[in-house]
Symmetry: C2
Subunit: 230 residues, 2 copies
DNA sequence: ATTATTGTGTTGCTACTGCAACAGGCTTTG
DNA sequence: CAAAGCCTGTTGCAGTAGCAACACAATAAT
């Protein structure tokens, strides 16, 4: 699925290689035997329940994460954008932990780093290896934080609490009280709730002056924040 | 809080050092300037919102994870057992991401590994460093898998679906159809639901022959499994 | 022995929220 | 222009689950 491509990417621009020069990034790729592969729209980049030797990084294009349970039911997850890593868990823990597939949404290119080589190349690569490992840990930690926040969100069952917490989390990330929000449908998906129930609750909170909102933004009233603290 | 202790622990027995000899583990500790500290019952090992330079590993005793939001409300989380790691996210990402405190439940000892030194010691330590990093990534990945499963669990809102999925997850982990379950109160906490509602649902499912259960175990009927697949 | 304390199972009530159906607005397509 | 599609906001209905109160064990503390 896809033939190797010539070195047309400025790897040093990707977060995984942040702190490296273009030269060092090339050295990393060479010494770890990493390869660039391209995929046509619709092709599978990773298959659930199959063993996977690579940590992948999106170079260009977009890909869809697809969770497959053991009965073959698929449910779609995130979209992977440029720079995103994938396949980490299955590369590290093996096929028993490969629950997700990844499929290209466009023409896509990815850098595939053999996990085994990554572990073994510490000596050969020295400082370069250290920087990449640091970036890997950082990216991994960020993902862990996002997951923890999602768990916290889902732990609140009342729709009002969930929305309030969501807005607090987002205003932290966006560094602004006025939060830019996606469409109501997407918002409902993020909150794992019913769309019309969400709209209903937004209306109620607006009427109660707990919330001010426009077409693509929302802002909590300070009195609502106080209530959220309990 | 707590004075350094002499080297009385067989570090090679802990998962983070699995694959190392006792000698190599000691070398790792020395070269990374890791220290062993002990804490009296109730003392804080880590404070939320304070900067933390160390990745910690529980050597003995048990500690409580405490989540603190920005208003000072505390909510208790996991208990850390022997071998567990803590402080990873805050050591890697900095104090902005230090959402949790850790408090000793008993007299406790922990190994504190300076994250900075861990990153810098790759050259000095060679193979030993590689093995520890590998173990760190493995442990991190396992935690990620647990979080993903929890998210999947919480994404099901009906109590019946949640319980069913919980039992499927546990039977995978316990490698048995008959799942050992904690007390109803703890189970309710794991499912983030109301205790009496949980008991009610268990009764209903038992009556409907979807579930067989005893005092400390449960087992799904195969017909319930089929339904869970949709 | 008597008194807490803790986990359990039950039940009635209430309210929240999922669901489905519909109407209005906006854009795209023919 | 008409038709189709998509997102939105509203509403009625029904069912689930949270909550509180209670009774009953089994254990622990006095």
């Amino acid at each position: 699925m896809g033939k190797p491509k010539e070195n047309a990417f400025d790897l040093a621009e990707y977060p995984l290689f942040s702190g490296l020069s273009a030269e060092e990034a090339r050295e990393f790729v060479a010494k770890t035997k990493s390869v660039i592969r391209s995929y046509e729209k619709g092709n599978r980049i990773l298959r659930a329940y199959e063993s996977n030797a690579f940590i992948g990084m999106m170079l260009e294009g977009r890909a869809q994460i697809i969770a497959e349970d053991r009965f073959g039911n698929e449910s779609i997850g995130h979209t992977l954008e440029r720079g995103a890593l994938f396949g980490i868990v299955s590369a590290i823990l093996g096929p028993d932990y490969a629950f997700t597939s990844v499929a290209a949404k466009n023409k896509t290119a990815a850098l595939l780093i053999p996990y085994r080589e990554l572990l073994l190349s510490g000596m050969k690569l020295g400082r370069v290896h250290g920087i990449v490992m640091k970036n890997l840990l950082t990216s991994f930690s960020l993902k862990a934080v996002l997951m923890m926040q999602k768990i916290e969100l889902l732990s609140h069952k009342s729709l009002r609490d969930r929305l309030t917490l969501y807005l607090i989390q987002q205003s932290d990330r966006q560094k602004s009280d006025r939060v830019t929000v996606p469409s109501k449908m997407q918002l409902a998906k993020a909150l794992e709730c019913n769309r019309s129930a969400l709209v209903r609750e937004i209306s109620a909170m607006s009427r109660a002056r707990l919330l001010r909102c426009g077409d693509d933004w929302m802002e909590l009233d300070t009195s609502a924040l106080a209530k959220a603290s309990k």
